[in-house]
């Protein structure tokens, strides 16, 4: 099949949206943290923890949405660890983030081995099923691509709108953006920079975990080691690519996912079979780096990103 032909199939765009969904959740989460001035490198591990927690909850008998909530809760817990160390104590966000990733990943694997000691093939759960939205799903091309997804995917799109609304149209959002730009001014208003930043990191981490949970509860129906596979790091690049704006980040995630879906399909063509498959697997990472280079000059980085705030220091 020709590459142009692939681009006009509904199944290709449906796959792109599916691949984009976990990235949308996690990118939104990272965006909230960074908008408040905190780089959260715990993202990769928090996604692993979310993927496991949501799946495990459903496997042990809860409903799917309860599973999503459990994943979010676990993510927020790791977010709390990150927030405590980086905000009031002002520790290096790089080191703490990597530490949280290692902590979340290893405790997830530990919990997995405790819960399922002798299992070689992880059990499957009854994952989210596609729900065709009446009328809309009948639009050609767009219908099957956008409106025949699982409810978990729809939630991602709703969340982008909600986050954008909260960030730009509410006092809470203003406070979050302000602590990322000029924390001293926020403190002068009598607000607690610490509380706002911690809140942003905790909520953002919850969203990251939901991104992980999508992998085990909607994209697949089981938990595997290494299943997050660098998606968290890609989301950090996507935040930069989207210049810290929810709408642009959504667009970036879909573009990126479309490219990923395309490489999977080209891999299966006669043309693609002439190259080692690893070349195709490298593409998403290269693309992320290229996106960073392309956007770096124009990026409007939050002014207080990675700058700890200590009251009383002038």
């Amino acid at each position: 099949m020709d590459i142009i032909e692939i681009l006009f199939t509904a199944s290709f765009w449906a796959a792109a949206i599916r691949i984009a969904t976990p990235l949308i959740f996690a990118t939104l989460g990272e965006l909230i943290c960074e908008r408040a001035g905190v780089l959260n490198l715990g993202i990769e591990g928090i996604m692993v923890a979310g993927a496991f927690a949501g799946w495990m909850a459903v496997y042990s008998g809860t409903g799917l949405w309860v599973g999503v909530a459990v994943a979010m809760g676990v993510g927020m817990l790791f977010g709390l660890v990150h927030a405590l160390l980086t905000v009031p104590f002002g520790l290096s966000q790089h080191v703490v983030g990597l530490g949280v990733t290692l902590l979340a990943t290893s405790s997830t694997y530990y919990a997995y081995r405790l819960a399922l000691p002798e299992v070689t093939n992880p059990p499957k759960i009854a994952a989210f099923q596609p729900y065709e939205i009446p009328v809309l799903s009948e639009i050609p091309l767009l219908g099957p691509a956008l409106f025949s997804q699982t409810p978990f995917t729809y939630l991602a799109f709703v969340l982008v709108a909600v986050v954008a609304l909260v960030l730009y149209r509410t006092p809470v959002g203003l406070a979050v953006r302000a602590v990322g730009e000029n924390p001293a001014a926020v403190a002068a208003q009598g607000l607690s920079v610490t509380a706002i930043r911690m809140g942003a990191v905790i909520v953002g981490s919850g969203f990251m975990a939901m991104g992980g949970a999508f992998l085990t509860m909607s994209a697949f129906d089981s938990f595997f080691f290494e299943m997050v596979n660098g998606r968290g790091w890609i989301c950090i690049a996507l935040v930069v690519f989207g210049s810290w704006r929810p709408g642009k980040a959504l667009l970036g995630a879909i573009l990126f996912a479309a490219f990923d879906a395309l490489q999977i399909r080209v891999q299966q063509t006669g043309f693609g079979a002439e190259f080692p498959y690893q070349i195709f697997l490298m593409m998403p990472y290269f693309l992320s780096i290229l996106a960073l280079v392309a956007m770096s000059r124009r990026a409007e980085v939050p002014a207080a990103l990675m700058v700890p705030f200590n009251k009383g220091e002038r």
Partner: protein, 349 residues
């Protein structure tokens, strides 16, 4: 709450928090092991016994510590200049790659010439690999954390491609592994009968060289200045970007030397599981060592001890091996917090 710097911290202030951090790490690990059904009070003893309890265990700990000294130095050097190289994993593989490419029979040189060449080429490969993120940072302002992280994935796929293609061992029974390096390309053992190889000595020498660079050279001074305050360093006439690139070359080279040492000293060939995350663990080593090159040696032995000890403990007490990683992550986070508390006091307001 607010943090207030302490002018002259007492000895207790400098030691107690770190002791507490390590104690808490052991307590958490014991608690987690008891969740898995082990006796919590036996955990520490079993770890110590597993890491240092026999000649075999000590040799194992030293062999584990060797690559960690290299990657720990790589992180320590870079972090001192606030250059966040998280790509030591890829750089280590770069050094391992050049070692098998040149060491599997391409050059029929005697040992005394071949080994230095292999080490030199490995350093070059690791340095070049980190040069790309370094230049992206200095030229385009691209954050090196993300680029070095992503390079790890790219480079491992590249290695996987080579191991399934041109580098695949025809005698390897279909496994993605390279051919073994020739006898002249093997680092000999330091003591007859003990499995500790000259890679460990090379690691110690490297730590010493880095210490000399950091404390006795202009470059070391410049790296520290750039790390403390980039703008002030630039104002004082230090070429910040050039210093960052030099730092990157040194850091990448050190990590790659670890790859050379693993292949030439221990494994003899290249596989995709040559490193169980030594590049990432090196960051923990560097942080625990307070970025001090001599401290890296101690921290690497400590971390290797946890790995080897926890491995043996988890087999003895039937606890999942991931406990070692949890211990390291906990130790990292708590020690970083403790270091801060040695210099600041928390004030309520």
């Amino acid at each position: 709450m607010r943090l207030e710097p302490i002018r002259n911290p007492s000895v207790a202030r400098r030691v107690v928090p770190i002791g507490l951090a390590l104690g808490a790490t052991i307590a958490i690990a014991s608690l987690l092991a008891s969740v898995a059904g082990a006796n919590p009070f036996s955990v520490l003893g079993l770890i110590l016994k597993g890491a240092f309890g026999s000649k075999f265990a000590i040799v194992e700990t030293f062999n584990r510590a060797t690559p960690l000294i290299f990657t720990g130095l790589a992180a320590a050097v870079a972090f001192r200049a606030k250059f966040w190289n998280i790509g030591a994993e890829a750089q280590l593989y770069a050094g391992a790659l050049t070692t098998v490419v040149l060491g599997t029979g391409l050059l029929a040189w005697p040992s005394f010439a071949l080994l230095p060449l292999l080490a030199f080429v490995a350093i070059l490969a690791g340095a070049l690999l980190l040069l790309v993120p370094a230049v992206l940072k200095t030229r385009f302002g691209v954050d090196e954390v993300v680029t070095t992280l992503l390079f790890n994935f790219i480079f491992l796929l590249f290695i996987s491609m080579l191991l399934e293609g041109p580098l695949k061992d025809p005698m390897g029974m279909g496994w993605p592994k390279s051919a073994r390096v020739v006898a002249e390309a093997r680092l000999p053992r330091i003591f007859e009968g003990l499995r500790v190889h000259w890679g460990f000595a090379l690691a110690l020498i490297s730590a010493f060289v880095v210490w000399i660079i950091q404390t006795r050279s202009t470059l070391g001074f410049e790296m520290r200045a750039v790390g403390l305050n980039k703008d002030a360093a630039a104002f004082a006439g230090i070429p910040v970007n050039r210093v960052l690139v030099k730092t990157a070359l040194l850091s990448g080279g050190l990590a790659a030397l670890g790859g050379f040492s693993e292949v030439a000293g221990l494994k003899g060939s290249l596989t995709l599981d040559l490193s169980p995350g030594y590049g990432y663990t090196g960051i923990i080593v560097a942080m625990l060592a307070l970025l001090n090159p001599i401290g890296v040696i101690v921290a690497a032995l400590f971390v290797a001890g946890i790995f080897v000890g926890a491995d043996s403990m988890s087999r003895a007490a039937d606890v999942p091996t991931y406990l070692a990683d949890i211990m390291l992550a906990t130790a990292l986070l708590l020690v970083v917090l403790a270091i801060m508390l040695t210099r600041f006091r928390v004030v309520r307001d």
